[in-house]
Assembly symmetry: C2
Homo-oligomer: 211 residues x 2
DNA sequence: ATCAATATACAGGAAAACCAGTAGGGAATA
DNA sequence: TATTCCCTACTGGTTTTCCTGTATATTGAT
């Protein structure tokens, strides 16, 4: 079905992992590992001159953060499919990786079949995330949205206006209410979200996806 | 290969779109549309009593925002695959949808083949995003990370402390520098990010992934 | 060695935010 | 009907931020 093998680069600072991946992929003729690197810089230098189809990218590299690696890779060669790899998985890390453009994400306890599956899927332009990864992502969503204090409509509205950098007075004008009322709303918001000022108010609001 | 058809629910307030989807899916025996709704509330009520495999969910519903629909659906039935649908696509919307747990996202100019493909992929537990959608997401990343003003280490540090709700004085104590210096840093930050106060400073900082 | 960027620091004053407590009217609800 | 929640509004005071402008020692780069 497929004539040319998929060209793969491995970036991981653990020799053991590299060997493991090699073993898992060695039997399959659809893929070929064309190079491997123990750090991010070397990989980027290589990519300036050469290309590949898929990069298996460890998240914890000695020199460059895996999260930061992804845009760097895609800046050099936008059509490479980057698949993130890590031993355990922080939801926020995975989210950042996805936002930065990884097409797949796997834990290192991945089976050979799943690995091949991920590689072929990503090579075809699809996304692939291991089932554990999906579970982690799903959990993180429900967890975040769990203990969010209930804000009233008015409070949400005021909140977004504060986030836009509006002052109490201009908010009051915009909503045709007294500045004193706006202050009350702001105070209630800070109390509900348990923060001491508007800056951190916005921070937790963004974190909890309230705005 | 597959005996039971995949059960599908359509949620969209445009009759035309519903008919279009029906036509695209009518020939295929692998899928079966079991119900359709013109608004979010009706769909949620239905899901309380019945289930489905896949939901094709329009983002612009009359009653409930599509983005908010996703967690509601998954709270009722976690194993439903939600595929987002929209005519045109705001990157931020798609990002929110993904974070909230959609497994796929398509534009409404989707072909029958791609639609079937997305449905089967998602039903198998994979993700599926149309190529245009992927392009939009990729563009949004490079765009966001493009014009970010360069912050110095010290400024970044001060920025995170501001985000934590610390006052100028406490930051000064923590960094063993004068409060006046901290103020200068804050001022420079606001100038660089072109915002009028600390609240919106934090907002754009989060948006641009600076903290 | 020189120039640019960074981190540091200050003055003086205006504006806004923050704190604590109170309170009335309206809508929803029990 | 009573109660609770929401939105509204106020007093009076303290703290912090924000503005404008200046300035110096240190570091990094050319």
């Amino acid at each position: 079905m497929q004539h040319k093998p998929i060209h793969i680069i491995i970036v991981d600072d653990h020799p053991m992992v590299i060997e493991g991946l090699k073993t898992l992929l060695s039997d399959d003729e659809r893929v070929r590992i064309i190079n491997q690197f123990m750090n991010g810089t070397d990989a980027l230098v290589f990519l300036e001159k050469n290309s590949a189809d898929i990069i298996l990218l460890d998240v914890n590299l000695p020199d460059i953060n895996g999260v930061e690696m992804v845009p760097k890779i895609l800046n050099i060669r936008a059509n490479i499919g980057v698949i993130g790899l890590s031993t355990y998985s922080e939801p926020s890390i995975i989210n950042q990786m996805i936002r930065n453009g990884v097409k797949g994400y796997l834990l290192k306890n991945v089976t050979g079949d799943e690995l091949i599956n991920a590689i072929t899927q990503v090579h075809q332009g699809n996304f692939y995330f291991g089932s554990e990864v999906q579970k982690i992502l799903a959990d993180s969503v429900t967890q975040e949205s769990s203990d969010l204090p209930k804000l009233t409509r008015r409070e949400k509205h005021v909140l977004t206006l504060i986030a836009d950098g509006k002052t109490t007075n201009s908010i009051a004008e915009e909503l045709f209410i007294s500045p004193l009322t706006v202050e009350t709303h702001r105070r209630n918001l800070m109390q509900k979200l348990e923060v001491p000022n508007a800056a951190s108010l916005i921070k937790v609001a963004v974190e909890k996806h309230l705005i």
